[in-house]
């Protein structure tokens, strides 16, 4: 199985995989952050008193959650260049990492929408009423009372969304991004041994995901301090 382990396991190759891991991590972080911004917008839309905004919010979440992320990446990959060409008349030299981040952000945004929405809904209704009787506006209530409490509820699922994104960033290998999975495949092809680089890739993934999960637990504990 591990026929070329000694050849694969060199400083140079490990660094090569490490670079792939950093790309995976970078794409996941960017997508998570952009996704959270989209999530705030999505959650606001879904909570809006305007029907049209609620409809847009629902549409966004259902479409994204109901289709595979791989399909979303591939569609964006094929549709963006043709839109660009249609508008500017030029051919676009596409940056697959950018496409990857955009697709993952849009995807993550849908999940963040739900997660932020349920975090906000998870705050006791009595908090809204207390604020109302004290004369606070709904925006003040949201900002000063609801969101700080929702934040605590949102942290754990955000951590697991982050971990999902790290793993799912491997899907961008299909459009040519040389992230961790693709990097291991490149090595596998070079040494005619898939298992050794795959195993190293698995270790890199685990180092990232387990550390995040560990940090997440720590943050949760800190947040729970006032309870």
């Amino acid at each position: 199985m591990f026929v070329a382990l000694d050849k694969v396991f060199t400083m140079e190759n490990v660094l090569y995989l490490g670079k792939g891991a950093l790309i995976s991590l970078g794409m996941a972080i960017l997508s998570l952050l952009i996704g959270l911004v989209l999530g705030v917008l999505g959650a606001s839309a879904k909570r809006s008193r305007f029907f049209i905004l609620r409809a847009i919010g629902n549409f966004y979440v259902e479409i994204i959650r109901g289709t595979p992320m791989l399909l979303q990446i591939l569609m964006l990959f094929s549709v963006v260049p043709s839109i660009y060409t249609a508008i500017t008349g030029n051919v676009l030299r596409i940056n697959v990492y950018l496409i990857g981040v955009i697709a993952m952000s849009i995807n993550s945004g849908a999940y963040s929408t739900e997660l932020i929405r349920s975090g906000i809904n998870g705050v006791d209704k009595g908090q809204w009423e207390a604020c109302e009787t004290l004369g606070l506006s709904s925006w003040q209530t949201m900002k000063l009372v609801i969101l700080p409490q929702a934040f605590k509820l949102i942290v754990p699922p955000v951590i697991s969304e982050f971990i999902t994104l790290i793993k799912d960033s491997s899907l961008t290998s299909c459009i040519g991004a040389i992230e961790l999975l693709k990097a291991s495949q490149v090595l596998g092809a070079r040494y005619y041994d898939a298992m050794s680089p795959y195993t190293l890739a698995a270790i890199f993934y685990l180092i990232m995901t387990i550390s995040i999960s560990y940090i997440g637990k720590h943050v949760e504990k800190r947040l729970a301090a006032s309870d």
Binding site: D124, E132, T133, L134, G135, L136, L144, V145, K152, S226
Partner: protein
């Protein structure tokens, strides 16, 4: 002070309030009593505007409270404080910050002014040493006293209490009632939904008895308890008092 005219409130098919009219003068302490589900909370919440009545009007100092007239309505509501059964303190803030928040955000007081006021009121409810505690580290009775102080920080002319002692362990009920009694002594106008008949009788000046969304009796406390007129009130009282 406050006048309710022909108030109606439905929840779907359910008529929670059917044509309720009520007037409360300055300095009165009105106990709102009645069986569970009779519409006491709904009435109190309509008065403060937490529920929107389907019909009827509410007047504060002879001026209509009209939600359409936003600025005025806001100001009118700010004359009333509300205390909930379940306290609804902000769990992520210290006691002091709970009291300061609306003072700075709504009344525009400076942090110093607000803190001064907050400490004054914490002292009044006997909890100044708890100013830096978080609500979850307080007992139920302490939480409710903080909630009362928080409402008082806004300088209301009138206080509405919705079963303020119903969520408390028995040994904590008195400390909350004492605070309310003290408020009454200082002339605060109060409407109190309560099952504490002793409080209603001794501290309250008047009893309004509600059943099935209607006011069945409205009488001075002593008169209501010693000589209830309606059968429903008699029946209710016989159930409440264990003999």
């Amino acid at each position: 002070m406050i006048r309710v005219e022909h108030l109606q409130k439905n929840f779907g098919q359910l008529h929670a309030l059917k044509d309720v009219s009520l007037e409360v003068d300055k300095g009165e302490i009105v106990s709102l009593i009645g069986p569970s589900g009779s519409g006491k909370s709904t009435l109190l919440r309509c008065i403060h505007g937490l529920e929107k009545p389907d019909r009827g009007n509410i007047y504060m100092n002879d001026e209509l409270m009209d939600p359409q007239n936003k600025e005025k309505y806001r100001e009118q509501r700010n004359h009333m404080g509300f205390v909930f059964q379940h306290f609804n303190l902000f769990p992520h803030m210290t006691v002091l910050d709970n009291l300061n928040l609306a003072q700075t955000e709504v009344l525009g007081r400076s942090k110093e002014e607000a803190t001064k006021k907050s400490l004054e009121l914490l002292k009044r409810v006997g909890l100044q040493e708890k100013k830096d505690a978080y609500p979850n580290n307080l007992s139920g009775g302490q939480k409710q006293r903080v909630a009362i102080a928080r409402a008082l920080c806004m300088d209301p002319d009138m206080m509405l209490f919705d079963e303020p002692t119903s969520a408390l362990d028995p040994e904590m009920i008195k400390e909350v009632l004492e605070v309310m009694k003290d408020l009454g002594k200082h002339g605060m106008t109060m409407i109190v939904v309560t099952h504490e008949m002793g409080f209603a009788r001794k501290v309250g000046s008047r009893v309004v008895f509600l059943d099935h969304g209607e006011i069945i009796e409205d009488a001075p406390s002593e008169e209501f308890f010693s000589n209830p007129k309606s059968d429903r009130a008699k029946d209710f009282l016989s159930k409440v008092f264990y003999e």
